[in-house]
């Protein structure tokens, strides 16, 4: 699955995107955040205040309890600050 990061989430993790293989236990956006938080310091830093971070599954806004089954692309980003 492809993960994308934007703005300070991208800066804290240190990359704009990556491919990951998820364990079967990761079923929702919230599960994915928890899994990412355990991947290292930079992820823990990026998701230290997970409540403010927004997610999109295949370019549609998603909530923590949204199922990720079948997703090709999941993005994480801060609240949008527009143009």
């Amino acid at each position: 699955m492809r993960l994308l990061y934007f703005a300070w989430v991208r800066e804290r993790i240190g990359k704009p995107d990556e491919e990951v293989d998820l364990p079967a236990s990761v079923r929702t956006v919230g599960d994915l955040v928890a899994w990412l938080q355990g991947r290292g310091e930079e992820y823990a830093y990026a998701f230290e205040n997970a409540a403010v971070i927004r997610a999109a599954i295949d370019r549609n806004h998603a909530k923590p309890d949204t199922a990720i089954a079948g997703a090709r692309e999941i993005a994480f980003f801060p609240p949008m600050t527009g143009g």
Binding site: A7, P79, T81, G82
Partner: protein, 153 residues
Amino acid sequence: MGVRLQREDFDIGAEIAALSAGRTDVGAVASFTGICRGGDIVAMTLEHYPGMAEAEIERHVEEAQSRWPLLGVTVIHRHGRLVPGDNIVLVATASQHREAAFAAAEFLMDYLKTRAPFWKKEERAGGDGWVEARQSDDAAAARWSGRRPEAAE
């Protein structure tokens, strides 16, 4: 006409003229231009989510077209590094009458300023920083919710 995300500047007069060119049913064109302001900002960089930004803006243009009798809509949003005085965003809407043109332009700007997938990093003398979401912008966008509940996000 349409939605464009681009690094380059845009020609406001040409975009407005295009909405009524070659037709005589347009009686009203409203436009909004957002410009990078100065003050203590040296520059700003607009990051967007390519693909999602276009799709989301298109969806909101369709929503505007279903709410108001529009004859044309143009949305151009720049990304990349911009300095004070640079144009950032243009929304232009055409209709028979002014009410629809104004309402649709405001609706689209409220969306673009609050919920479109763009993030703004400012360069200041004291260092760089990501802009935080403004509460007054969220309040402006919330005005449009509930009017047509079935069309809410």
